[in-house]
C-alpha cells in the first residue's frame, strides 16, 4: 500500500463532522489534491483546513500538539484503525506516502462511551485524568525525599518500569477495544509504580482505587483480545494487564483480611 514514488498524490478524505457533543454527526468528503507524499496526515488536514477557511467554512477540528508522537493529543481512527495503518506510531506520525494515489481515506475520532465526542475528530478523554487522580501517584511531599541513590533499583526492574511508563495517555487502547476497556492504560501506570520500591507502600490502595474509578467511569472489561496493545503507539505490552490482575487480586485479598490498626490520632486527653 505504500506509494514508493516521490510523485505527488491526490486523495479524498471522508471525515466525521459533528458540530458539538449534543448534535448529530455525519461523514463528509473533501478532496485533497497534489500532496507531497512526505507530508504528514495532519499536515494534509492543515492544507484542507486552509482551503476551507479561505472560503469561510468551518475547518475540521482535530486534536494535536507535539506532532512527534509523545504528547498523546492526536487521536484519529484512520481507515478503521486507531492511529492508522502503521504499528507503534501515533496519528501524527502517519505520512501520506502510506496511502495510494486517488484513494479514499476515512478519518474518525476515537469513539468510546467514556470518551464523548466534543467536536468533529476530538473526543473528551478527561476520564483518564480522573483515573490518575484516583491513585496514579506516589504520595511524597516536595522536599521530603531522601537521596536519590539511597535505594538502588536493579536495572532490569527500572527498565521494565520505564517500558510501562512510556504510555502517552492517548486512549487508542480504549478506542481499539470492542469493550472500550481502559485496562492497558491503567495497568501501565499501576505496573510502573508497583515495580519500583518507592511505590510499595501504596501498592494495594493504588490498584484498587484506580480500577474502581475506571469501572465507575464506564470503561468495559478486558476479555483478552489484545487489540489494545496492537493499536498502542508505544507498544505497551498486554503483559502489564496480567500483572495488574495479579496485583488486584492480591490487594483485594490483603485488604479483606488485613488487621485494622487501632484508630490513632488526637493524642489522648
Amino acid at each position: 500500500m505504500v506509494a514508493e514514488t516521490s510523485k505527488n498524490i491526490s486523495v479524498t478524505i471522508r471525515v466525521w463532522r459533528q458540530p458539538a457533543a449534543d448534535q448529530p454527526g455525519k461523514f463528509v468528503d473533501y478532496p485533497a489534491k497534489d500532496l507531497n507524499p512526505n507530508m504528514s496526515l495532519l499536515e494534509m488536514l492543515d492544507v484542507v483546513n486552509d482551503q476551507l477557511e479561505r472560503i469561510g467554512e468551518d475547518p475540521i477540528a482535530f486534536a494535536h500538539d507535539c506532532r512527534e508522537g509523545i504528547c498523546g493529543t492526536c487521536s484519529l481512527v484512520i481507515d478503521g484503525k486507531p492511529h492508522g495503518p502503521h504499528h507503534g506510531v501515533a496519528s501524527c506520525q502517519t505520512y501520506m506516502r502510506s496511502f495510494e494515489d486517488n484513494s479514499i481515506i476515512t478519518i474518525e475520532p476515537f469513539r468510546a462511551k467514556s470518551f464523548p465526542i466534543v467536536k468533529d475528530l476530538i473526543s473528551d478523554r478527561s476520564a483518564f485524568d480522573a483515573i490518575q487522580q484516583a491513585g496514579g501517584f506516589i504520595s511524597i511531599r516536595t522536599g521530603s525525599a531522601q537521596d536519590a541513590n539511597a535505594t538502588p533499583i536493579p536495572k532490569d526492574i527500572a527498565d521494565l518500569a520505564m517500558d510501562a511508563a512510556q504510555c502517552i495517555g492517548c486512549g487508542a487502547c480504549v478506542a481499539a477495544c470492542k469493550n472500550a476497556s481502559a485496562m492497558l492504560f491503567v495497568s501501565a501506570k499501576v505496573s510502573q509504580l508497583g515495580l519500583l520500591p518507592q511505590g510499595q507502600p501504596e501498592r494495594d490502595t493504588r490498584v484498587l482505587n484506580m480500577v474502581a474509578k475506571m469501572d465507575e467511569l464506564g470503561f468495559g472489561n478486558c476479555t483478552n483480545q489484545y487489540e489494545c496493545s496492537a493499536a498502542c503507539p508505544k507498544l505497551i505490552s498486554h503483559d502489564f494487564i496480567a500483572r495488574m490482575n495479579r496485583d488486584y487480586l492480591a490487594a483485594s485479598f490483603r485488604t479483606a483480611f488485613k488487621p485494622k490498626p487501632a484508630a490513632s490520632g488526637g493524642g489522648g486527653a
Binding site: M39, N49, F137, I140
Partner: protein, 661 residues
C-alpha cells in the same frame, strides 16, 4: 518607567539562598488556605508549583489550554536534566554547574539566580526518584549519567530519549494527587487571554473556555504564569503547535516588562523543511555529531546530485575546515550559523536547498573495521564491514535513525542525513526578580516563560532543571514572602471593574478577528510572519535587516487584521479563532524581538549581529555597554515601548571571552 530591582540578596554567593530563605516572611499555616493562587500552565514549572503550593496549604487553581496537564510541551524534551550530584565522582560540584551555566549563557544571566539553580538541582533528582520517575540506571542499581554540551563532567540524568515525558508525568502525578484530594482546582481547555491588575497588583486572569467560547474570571491573591516559550513566533520550530505567547504577551500589555525577547536558541541538527505545507520541525539529538560528519558540495551544480555521486574531493566538510579544533562538535550557535552560510551561498542540499549532510559513512567503516578486528576476522569483505558497521551505529543511534526514516522515508545508513538548524528555545521572557516575581507585584513567572537563568544561550538539559527548580523549590518559598504582605481573603470580587474591563478587552479582540472576514486563512499569515522572523531576526541579524523586518511586520499586522478569514463564531469550539488569537500576539511580539535585537549592538550567545563579530566569526560581546538585561515596557498601543535596563553586576565571576578554539 518600571522599577527593576533584582532583589538578589547580599552575602557570599554560596550562602545567598540559604540565608535569604531562612529570613523570608512566612504565612501562618492556618491562614494559607485563605490565599488563592491562580496558576496558568502545568508543564514542568506550573505542575510542580501547583502541587507544592497546595501541599503547603494554599488554595490553588491551575489553568491550562490543553485537554490534560500531561500534554504540556515539556513532554517532548528528549535528552535529559542536569544536576550537580557528582555521582560519577568526576569532580562536579554546585560551583561547577553554576559556572558552566553562566558561561554557557555568555555572561548575560544573574550570578545569584544561576547559583541557586545549581544548588537546588540536586533536590530535583531526589524528588523525582521518590515520585517514581524511572531514570536510567547502571547494573549496580544506581543512577546513570550522560554528558552534554558545555560541560566537562557527566551530570545529565535521563530516561531513555524521553526525559521530559517522565519528569512531566512525575509532576503531573503529584498534581493529580492534589486534584484528587480536592486541594487543587484543575481547569483544562481554558486559554488565559488577559491579566487582571487591581491597584497595581496582579489579582486574577480572564480565560476563554475553548470548548464553549465563554469568558471566565478568576480572582486570587497572586497569579503565577508558567506558560512556556514563544518560539512559534517563527512558525516553524521544534515546539508543539499549541505553544504560544498569549499569556505573557497580554501580561506585558498590562505592565509586566518583557526581558531580552531577542535571545533565541537555534539548534543545528533538525530535520529540514521539506515543503511549504510543513507544520513542525523535528530535533535530531546533538549526540549524532559525535560520529556524523557535516558537509555540502563544493560546487553549486552538484547540489541536486545524489550524494554518493559526489566524489570526496568535491565535498566541503565546512565545520572541519572552518573550525579545525572543534570540527563537527563546534558549539550550537556557531554550527547553525555556518550551515546557514553554506545554504545562502547556494550550496545547500535537498529539494529546498536548505539542508546540509550529516554523513555516517565514515563512522560505519570505522566501526565495521573495529568490530571485525575485535572478532578476529581477517580480511573481511566490504559487505561484512558494512554490515558490522551499520550494526554498531544502530546500537548507538538506532532510535534517531528510525525517527529520521519515519519522517523522510530515507535510510541514514545508506545515505547521509539531511539536517538544518531550527528554532528550539527562547531564553527571553517576562522579567522577574530573585523571587521570580515580575515588576507587577503579585505576578510570578516560572519556567521558560521567564527570562531568568540562561542568559543569552541555554545549555542542553538545563531547561528541565530550571522549570522544576522554579516550581518545586523556589516559588513555594518566595511567594510566601509576598503573600505575607497581603491580607488573607482580600482577593477582589470578579465583579470588580478591572475584571469587567479585562474581559471586555479580550472579547473585543475575538470579535474583531471574527469580523475581519477577509480572504486568507490564519496559517497563511503565520507562515509569512515566520519567514520574516527567520530572515530578519534569525541566526544572523543586521541593523538594516532588523529595521526592514520591523517595517515588514508592521505591514503584515495591518494586512492580517484587514484580510484574515476566521470562519464560524465565538461561542463554541473554533480552532481557527484560537490560532488567530495567538497569532495576533505573535505578530506584535515579533516586532518587539526585532527592536530588542536592533538595540543590542553586540553579539552574545544566540544573538548574533553580523556587525559585531571577531575576525574568526565568533560573537563579539560588548560588556562595557551591554552587560545588562533589557526589559521592555509597554507604552500603549501605537507607541514605541520603553527599554529599561537592569545592570548585571558580577561580584564573583569574571566576564571573559567565550572561546571554543
Amino acid at each position: 518607567m518600571a522599577t527593576l530591582n533584582s532583589n538578589v540578596p547580599p552575602g557570599p554567593l554560596a550562602d545567598k539562598w540559604r540565608t535569604y530563605k531562612s529570613n523570608l516572611k512566612l504565612v501562618n499555616p492556618a491562614n494559607k488556605r485563605k490565599y488563592e493562587v491562580v496558576i496558568v500552565g502545568a508543564g514542568l514549572a506550573g505542575a510542580s508549583a501547583a502541587a507544592t503550593l497546595s501541599e503547603l496549604g494554599y488554595k490553588v487553581k491551575c489553568i491550562v489550554f490543553h485537554d490534560s496537564p500531561r500534554r504540556a510541551h515539556s513532554i517532548a524534551a528528549q535528552g535529559g536534566v542536569n544536576a550537580a550530584k557528582n555521582y560519577q565522582n568526576d569532580g562536579d560540584s554546585v560551583h561547577r554547574l553554576f559556572y558552566d551555566t553562566l558561561k554557557g549563557g555568555d555572561y548575560r544571566a544573574r550570578e545569584g539566580n544561576v547559583h541557586r539553580l545549581a544548588e537546588v538541582s540536586v533536590n530535583i533528582i531526589d524528588q523525582c526518584v521518590a515520585q517514581g520517575v524511572p531514570f536510567a540506571r547502571e547494573y549496580g542499581g544506581l543512577l546513570a549519567n550522560r554528558s552534554f554540551g558545555g560541560a566537562q563532567v557527566s551530570r545529565t540524568f535521563y530516561a531513555r530519549g524521553q526525559t521530559g515525558q517522565q519528569l512531566l508525568l512525575g509532576a503531573y502525578s503529584a498534581l493529580s494527587k492534589q486534584v484528587g484530594a480536592g486541594a487543587v482546582e484543575l481547569i483544562t481547555q481554558h486559554e488565559m487571554v488577559d491579566l487582571v491588575v487591581v491597584d497595581g497588583h496582579a489579582r486574577g486572569v480572564i480565560t476563554r473556555d475553548l470548548v464553549t467560547g465563554k469568558f471566565h474570571r478568576h480572582s486570587g491573591e497572586a497569579v503565577i504564569l508558567a506558560t512556556g516559550g514563544y518560539g512559534n513566533v517563527f512558525n516553524l520550530s521544534t515546539y508543539a503547535r499549541g505553544s504560544n505567547t498569549t499569556a505573557i504577551w497580554r501580561a506585558y500589555k498590562r505592565g509586566a516588562c518583557f526581558a531580552n525577547p531577542c535571545y533565541t536558541q537555534i539548534h543545528p541538527t533538525c530535520i529540514p523543511v521539506s515543503g511549504d505545507y510543513q507544520s513542525k520541525l523535528t530535533l535530531m539529538s546533538e549526540s549524532l555529531r559525535n560520529d556524523g560528519r557535516i558537509w555540502v558540495p563544493k560546487k553549486k551544480e552538484d547540489c541536486k546530485k545524489p550524494p554518493a555521486d559526489i566524489p570526496e574531493a568535491d565535498r566541503d566538510y565546512f565545520l572541519e575546515r572552518i573550525y579545525p579544533s572543534f570540527g563537527n562538535l563546534a558549539p550550537r550557535d556557531v554550527s547553525s550559523r555556518a550551515a546557514k552560510r553554506m545554504c545562502d551561498e547556494g550550496r545547500g542540499v535537498g529539494d529546498t536547498g536548505l539542508g546540509v549532510y550529516l554523513d555516517f559513512a565514515e563512522a560505519i567503516q570505522r566501526y565495521g573495521k573495529q568490530v571485525a578486528n575485535r572478532a578476529n576476522l581477517h580480511n573481511p569483505s566490504k559487505e561484512k564491514i558494512l554490515e558490522l558497521g551499520e550494526a554498531a551505529v544502530k546500537e548507538r543511534y538506532g532510535n534517531l535513525f528510525d525517527i529520521y526514516h519515519e519522517i523522510t522515508n530515507e535510510s541514514a545508513y545508506k545515505q547521509p542525513m539531511r539536517i538544518y538548524p531550527a528554532v528550539h528555545y527562547t531564553m527571553g521572557g517576562l522579567w522577574v526578580d530573585y523571587n521570580l516575581m515580575s515588576n507587577v507585584p503579585g505576578l510570578f513567572v516560572l519556567g521558560e516563560a521567564n527570562f531568568s537563568d540562561h542568559g543569552a544561550n541555554r545549555l542542553g538539559a538545563s531547561a528541565l532543571m530550571q522549570g522544576l527548580a522554579d516550581g518545586y523549590f523556589v516559588v513555594p518559598y518566595t511567594i510566601g514572602n509576598y503573600l505575607a504582605t497581603v491580607k488573607p481573603t482580600s482577593r477582589p470580587s470578579t465583579d470588580a471593574p478591572e475584571f469587567k474591563a479585562a474581559e471586555e478587552n479580550a472579547s473585543s479582540i475575538v470579535k474583531r478577528l471574527l469580523a475581519a472576514k477577509g480572504k486568507e486563512p490564519v496559517n497563511y499569515y503565520h507562515k509569512k510572519l515566520g519567514l520574516i522572523m527567520w530572515n530578519h531576526c534569525g541566526m544572523a541579524r543586521t541593523k538594516e535587516g532588523l529595521e526592514d523586518g520591523i517595517k515588514k511586520i508592521q505591514a503584515l499586522r495591518t494586512e492580517f487584521w484587514a484580510n484574515v478569514n476566521v470562519p464560524g463564531s465565538g461561542d463554541n469550539m473554533n480552532q481557527a479563532l484560537e490560532r488567530a488569537n495567538r497569532l495576533a500576539d505573535f505578530i506584535e511580539l515579533g516586532e518587539l524581538m526585532c527592536r530588542d535585537a536592533l538595540a543590542r549592538e553586540e553579539s552574545c550567545g544566540g544573538h548574533f549581529r553580523e556587525e559585531h563579530q571577531w575576525p574568526d566569526g565568533e560573537c563579539k560581546r560588548d560588556d562595557e555597554n551591554f552587560a545588562h538585561v533589557a526589559a521592555w515596557e509597554f507604552q500603549g498601543e501605537g507607541n514605541v515601548p520603553l527599554r529599561n535596563i537592569e545592570p548585571l553586576n558580577y561580584e564573583f565571576t569574571k566576564m571573559s571571552v567565550r572561546s571554543y578554539k
